[in-house]
């Protein structure tokens, strides 16, 4: 239905906060079905890129197109309804709602509602998604009772509920135990198998290299390198940017 190449195109994207250039003329693209990793040191502007793509921040200049359509000037909820969902770096569930209600909220966007699905179908789908991401069985407990890892899963479940074609994950592995990390890596691969395209910000390069088809490295809002995982991590600019930081590939 759409071309596989240039599924998501980020073209000379720029964001200035006052005098500070958070993102400067950043360009990259993502093909359908791919998993693209976005890496860079802390404060490199990765999350800003996510916020620009998903409409949470207005860009200063440049453009983003998804399936050939510009996303510029669109509101976050409109972008979601084009099939582009995201998670948050700081996990943001609804603490006082039950797990199932956390996921249920996403049922009430037009993307789900327009399919004419009723409450029964919604309930069915909630169970399905919860099982797929591996949430605890008791979906009536409030989200505030979950641990950090399960909250990540909950956030992903909520994003999956809108049935995205392209999923943006913001540091899905940070702060997780190794078992939890393995689970999410597995989940990412499974989702990709189902045909979901993924754009992932991640510090844990080892895990990211396992799943990513390509990687873009940025620093100070500018692109340092792009290519296969091996190419990027060995790129001199990337090595330089990472050396001396504890996030470097060598120590990961």
């Amino acid at each position: 239905m759409t071309q596989a190449r240039d599924y998501l195109v980020v073209d000379e994207l720029t964001k200035h906060f006052g005098g500070l250039a958070a993102v400067e003329k950043l360009s990259f693209s993502l093909d359908r079905g791919q998993i693209l990793g976005l890496i860079g040191p802390n404060g490199a502007g990765k999350t800003t890129v996510f916020n620009l793509i998903t409409g949470f921040l207005p860009a200063t200049s440049g453009r983003v197109t998804f399936r050939g359509e510009s996303l510029m000037g669109k509101k976050p909820h409109q972008i979601v309804n084009q099939g582009l969902a995201r998670t948050f770096q700081l996990v943001k569930p609804f603490p006082e709602l039950s797990l199932s209600d956390n996921i249920r909220v996403a049922c009430y966007g037009p993307r789900f509602m327009s399919q004419g699905l009723d409450e029964e179908a919604a309930r069915h789908r909630i169970l399905e998604v919860a099982e797929q991401v591996g949430l605890p069985d008791d979906l009536d407990q409030p989200a505030s009772s979950l641990g950090h890892g399960d909250l990540r899963l909950l956030d992903i479940a909520r994003a999956l509920m809108v049935q995205p074609e392209l999923l943006l994950l913001d540091e899905p592995l940070s702060g997780l135990s190794s078992i939890e990390t393995q689970a999410i890596v597995g989940l990412i691969q499974a989702l990709n198998q189902e045909g979901i395209t993924l754009l992932i910000i991640e510090h844990k390069l080892k895990e990211l290299m396992k799943v990513a088809d390509r990687i873009v490295a940025i620093d100070f809002g500018q692109k340092l390198a792009a290519g296969t995982p091996q190419e990027v991590v060995n790129h001199p600019a990337v090595v330089e940017a990472y050396l001396g930081t504890k996030d470097s590939y060598a120590s990961a």
């Binding site: 948050f88 909220v105 966007g109 993307r111 809108v162």
Partner: protein
Amino acid sequence: MLANLKTPAQRHTAIFYGLIMVGFYFVPVFSDNFYLLSVFTTAYFYIIFATSWDVFAGYSHLMNFGHALFIGIAGYLTAFVDLHLGLPPLLVLPMCAVVCGLLGMFIGYLTLRMQGPYFAIITMAFAAVAYESAIMFSEYTGGEEGIPGIHPLTDSLIGDYYFVLVVMSLIFLFLLWFTRGRWGLVLKAISQNEDAVLASGINTAWVKIRAYSISGALCGIGGSVYAYSLTHVGPTSMEQVLSTTILIMAMVGGMGTITGPFLGALILVLFNELSRDMEEYRLLIYTVMVVVIIFFAPRGIVSWGQPIARAFKLGGKRGQAGS
């Protein structure tokens, strides 16, 4: 709605409020004491005001400090329409609902981006503008003394009582239905994390505007009935102290539950009348209550339902009384 009553606790809650409501309908059977009826009628008005406040402010946590605006606007509209056009209440009520609903939508649109204290100030400011205008345009509004002589709702006290009660019941039921469904869930989610709701593809701005509009419309109906019942409207119907009282009732009862503001309004009005001799101390007592509630029961009176029910061995292991 009954389909949603999965747990025993929810069923007990429904029975509890159902009993109260039925009880209201039987009050005149036991006594036609004017004083008793007027106390309950006052309580019904405050229930309408507090629950309609709750559907927006309680759920979204955007503190509306100027809810009385809708009471006043509806009151003056009622006075004008009643005295100059002579329309019957059954036509005037929907009219007030529409006007206040549109007003709520307009204010909601203007204040969309505002957070926390800014939202509080602007709601106060809108009510204050209306209040000052009512005093300023005294040619039309009667100034500080307001407009007397609005025709009563019915010919008898009991008729008035039932009229107000029916309106209150309908509004209460509507709000329960509205908030127990997807709107309530989305509003609650917005109050906890608006970004995540946006990221779920929901136009949160529109949801909030709509909720504010509904809040205004329902309060407008209440305001209109209030004016009919007093046969008078004046700027006091938009006073800051009224807005604050509504807010305190809702908070004491428990925000974001509808049932909480219902109980809060009922209990505080009854308390107020019982302590008539202490009327001067009313706001003082309210203030102390607010402090106590915020520190010891931040979720309001409704949150006591659960432990009380547990003490009486009602409800399930994770009963959600009052929600």
